[in-house]
């Protein structure tokens, strides 16, 4: 890297900075601005009050949080398993990586419908269970009475779709571990489990941290997968924001939902930065 005309880099940065200012920074303040105004554009807490008092609010908040708490550990275990398999350099390693990475390109809407085909009353799960003799008539998994199954179906769909992102980040992290470290662990007779917990996990901390943050932010936006699997029977924060904007035509309450999701995302990011600290020398 060399210094040339000192103003060149700044000119190169201007377009992206300007764009992000208009389409990222301004809307963020607008979200709060709209949320703290009422229908007559006066400053007020009406929108927040409407949001908190809405019958669906507690359900939406709880479901969102439950989904995050359940999905993230499941995904990390799965992603770590896949990443270790990839890193073991089996035959056809390119093929395994491709297969595991395929869901990376599948939308949450498509994933939701795909798992709807599995869980619906006349779907694949009931067909298989009945043919194996576990049930004698189709069980209705996706109904208001079976909230547990609804959540389970959403968790599976999300785990299926979004594990690949974490897997790819973890594989990239694993490949950064110097071979000597694992060989040293072998020399000292470390078991596989010890290698994972004592050597691998501490060394891929930066990847873990990034994956945790990215994944949680995505989980706060979970939307189409919920609608595809549960329709109106289960709701999450982003779906409520959509409903208030599209069905009730109230951008202020919708903005209150957007602002709440923003706040929760920032809090969770700070939480992960604090829970999974990365030492300075690891951040490169």
């Amino acid at each position: 890297m060399k210094r040339r005309l000192s103003w060149t880099p700044y000119i190169l940065l201007v377009p992206s900075l300007a764009y992000l200012a208009v389409f990222f920074a301004v809307p963020m303040f607008q979200a709060f601005g709209l949320a703290f105004q009422n229908v007559d554009n006066e400053w007020s807490l009406d929108s927040w009050r409407t949001m908190f008092n809405d019958a669906a609010f507690t359900d939406a908040l709880l479901t969102t949080l439950i989904l995050i708490v359940v999905i993230i550990p499941v995904q990390f275990v799965l992603a770590m398993g896949m990443a270790l398999v990839i890193n073991a350099k089996l035959k056809f390693s390119g093929l395994w990586l491709y297969i595991y990475a395929v869901p990376l390109g599948i939308s949450d809407l498509a994933a939701g419908i795909i798992w709807y085909a599995v869980f619906t009353q006349q779907g694949w799960l009931n067909s298989v269970l009945e043919q194996l003799g576990f049930i004698d008539r189709p069980f209705i998994f996706l109904s208001y009475e079976n909230q547990g199954w609804l959540i389970f179906a959403i968790v599976l769909a999300e785990a299926w779709r979004a594990t690949s992102i974490i897997m790819v980040i973890l594989v990239a992290g694993l490949q950064g571990i110097p071979r000597d470290y694992l060989e040293a662990a072998d020399v000292f007779g470390a078991t596989f489990w010890q290698k994972v917990t004592r050597v691998i996990l501490p060394l891929i901390r930066p990847s873990l941290q990034v994956a945790l943050i990215l994944r949680t932010i995505l989980a706060f936006q979970a939307f189409a997968v919920v609608i595809a699997l549960a329709g109106q029977t289960i709701t999450v924060l982003s779906a409520e924001g959509y409903r208030w904007y599209q069905d009730y035509r109230d951008p202020h309450v919708a903005a209150a939902y957007a602002a709440l999701i923003l706040i929760l995302s920032i809090v969770s990011t700070l939480l992960f930065l604090w829970l999974v600290p990365v030492r300075q020398e690891q951040t490169l």
Partner: protein, 295 residues
């Protein structure tokens, strides 16, 4: 004499022990490999099974889609559901919109983001680290949620319910990734070559176009495909920012609850299929793209 024999005996015991040990270790290694392949197959089955199921559902005749219990081995191929889906009202137009939005997103985010990526890769300047930090931290924000306040802005600008509204949002979504990815691509292009071009009389722009671009092109293409997929798949912003000018996912979502099963399954397959191809095309770059971006 007897002492020497004793030593010999000791050695032979020692070597048989290590033989047994080596064999045990070898057996353990083979078992470990077998277990690894078993895991690899299990994970692959977990990913592929739903893709298989939706594929045979989407290409079965309507009666078989409705049939229960279903059969895991398809008996009859039919493109009826697929043609029903593609010819449904609004699907063709929204498909075209999706492609347009994705292309605009791709062009805009590359034109605006790649220069920043180049600056990060090639220059040392005051404010470089803060800028990088800002870009990195945008990922801690659920950007698509910002389509709610943006909808109000776009109504004022008169571009609400147009492909531009969605493309502008998607560009904001893709930009941080474009900047970080292009920066890592430009870092991997040797600076010496660019220097050489400059000393041989190229202007900086010529050196960039003649030397850097050809070398960076495969990486940039992979990054573009990634941006395309991002836009193709995005549904929340698309459904908030449009009423008539839907993109394909927005169209499918808005009619989902009123549509028959064979429509839904055909739609899911149609939305999913391009990603199988796209991920295949960029499979070599996946780790590079995501690995570097995650640091």
């Amino acid at each position: 004499m007897s002492e020497a024999k004793g030593v010999e005996l000791d050695q032979s015991i020692d070597s048989t022990e290590s033989m047994a040990e080596r064999r045990a270790r070898q057996r353990r290694r083979v078992l470990g490999r077998v277990a690894l392949y078993g895991m690899a197959v299990l994970f692959a089955a977990w990913v592929l099974a739903p893709i298989y199921l939706i594929t045979i559902t989407a290409f079965s005749p309507r009666e078989i889609v409705r049939e229960y219990p279903k059969h895991l081995i398809p008996r009859e191929f039919s493109a009826d559901s697929m043609s029903f889906f593609v010819n449904s009202e609004g699907v063709y137009g929204s498909l075209w919109n999706s492609v347009l939005v994705a292309v605009i997103t791709l062009v805009l985010s590359t034109l605006l983001g790649a220069p920043a990526g180049y600056a990060l890769a090639r220059y040392v300047f005051k404010g470089r680290d803060p800028y990088r930090l800002v870009i990195l931290s945008t990922r801690a924000f659920p950007i698509v949620i910002l389509s709610i306040p943006l909808a109000v802005t776009f109504i004022n600008w008169g571009i609400y319910d147009s492909i531009w509204a969605v493309a502008f949002m998607h560009t904001a979504l893709a930009m941080p990734f474009t900047i970080l990815i292009t920066s890592s691509i430009f870092v991997s292009v040797p600076h010496d070559l660019e220097e050489a071009a400059l000393t041989l009389g190229c202007t900086p722009l010529q050196a960039f176009i003649r030397v850097v671009m050809p070398l960076a092109l495969p990486g940039l293409a992979a990054a573009s495909i990634f941006t395309f997929v991002l836009s193709w798949n995005e549904v929340f912003a698309a459904v908030i920012l449009t009423l008539q000018e839907r993109t394909l996912p927005a169209q499918v979502l808005s009619v989902l609850t009123q549509s028959p099963p064979h429509f839904r399954f055909a739609a899911a397959w149609f939305l999913m299929a391009p990603s199988l191809v796209f991920i295949f095309l960029i499979r070599r770059y996946l780790l590079g793209l995501w690995g570097r971006v995650s640091r």
